[in-house]
Symmetry: C2
Subunit: 187 residues, 2 copies
DNA sequence: CCCCACATTTGATTCAAATCAAATAATTAG
DNA sequence: CTAATTATTTGATTTGAATCAAATGTGGGG
């Protein structure tokens, strides 16, 4: 449980009673390699914090699987729109490798936001960080060549490289597998 | 001032003392048509809430001006990375038409976050909404044809259409002016 | 009110990456 | 350990939008 509280403490101060409430509400899961955590067409009920391992979010577009993101240690993963708005969506989440993750339900999260200023701050800071990350990704997708996309990925997410098939990285970067292969070959 | 408090109240409850502090710290600006509010290579010191009019954020890429976003009534505008991290960046912000906007400095914002749970909640909710909006934009840029991009823009931002030159919309959508023109001609 | 800078359209051509196709390499489940 | 599946590379071709080029339209400052 130290991991969980450490994660929160790294972002903002956590008073003792918030710690208690967090520990009371959080669930710890173990997901097998390739286990599907969240299925398409369902409401995503929980948000996950990866303790160890690697999660992936993806969806089916014209019979191709498009990877939309990864979450490794200390990163949060949920199908954001489905989770926040409590509506089904097309995203699935699965474990790429054996993964341990904590999770919170929307109700518990809301309870904690409601009762703890620090939790609200935590939420604001995490959302801000996600927003900034997503901006960078948007700019990368809009304005860079396949080669630059791959290089940026290598620089930013080298800890993911080698843990996932290249096809997943290609679709995450918004290019085809073939193009990624050629980029890597250096032509 | 009613506008400002209404904007906050629409998102979360605002206790009387927070109202006081908000009113004490907020500035009201009037920007002329085409007036530049934020210059490139500078730290963006404030975040703006548009009361009336239209702001635009853009940057120079290879001698082309790329529009990155708009903010109309009840929308926030800032150069997010620069503002949050207190570093200069390449974005500029200008008024497209005569605009009235409230603004807050980072220090004031932090003060309000620090002292008011409700302000923190407001920040969290606004960041979440921005995140979701940005996700939709990312998907639009990644997966849709120029025609679909334009249709989506018309559906979502029709109140902007007609108030800005088409070139700005084209670069916002990630297509060229020529392509947008052809899409509109319907071919 | 008119002219000029800017905005928009239209046409011809180019090009980068997608698609289509298939061979080769590497995992993994039995 | 080996067959079968999955991943990766490599090659040929297509294609949609960018680029290049230029004509036409238009609105707002003088």
């Amino acid at each position: 449980m130290d991991f969980l509280l450490q994660h929160f403490s790294d972002i903002t101060s956590v008073p003792e009673n918030l710690k208690q409430e967090l520990l009371k509400r959080v669930q710890l899961h173990t997901f097998k390699r390739n286990e599907v955590i969240q299925r398409a067409d369902r409401v995503c009920k929980r948000t996950y914090l990866v303790k160890q391992g690697l999660l992936r979010i993806y969806f089916n577009k014209d019979d191709k699987i498009i990877t939309d993101g990864f979450a490794a240690e200390n990163e949060w993963m949920t199908s954001a729109y489905s989770f926040m708005r409590v509506v089904p969506d097309q995203y699935e989440i699965a474990a790429i490798e054996l993964t341990q993750a904590y999770s919170l339900s929307l109700e518990d999260l809301m309870y904690l936001f409601e009762h703890f200023h620090e939790m609200e701050r935590f939420g604001r800071i995490v959302m801000s960080m996600q927003f900034i990350k997503q901006s960078e990704r948007l700019n990368s997708i809009r304005f860079t060549t396949p080669k630059e996309k791959y290089e940026h990925f290598c620089n930013t997410y080298k800890y993911i490289l080698g843990r996932v098939p290249l096809g997943m990285i290609a679709s995450y970067l918004g290019i085809t597998q073939e193009t990624l292969s050629r980029v890597r070959a250096g032509s």
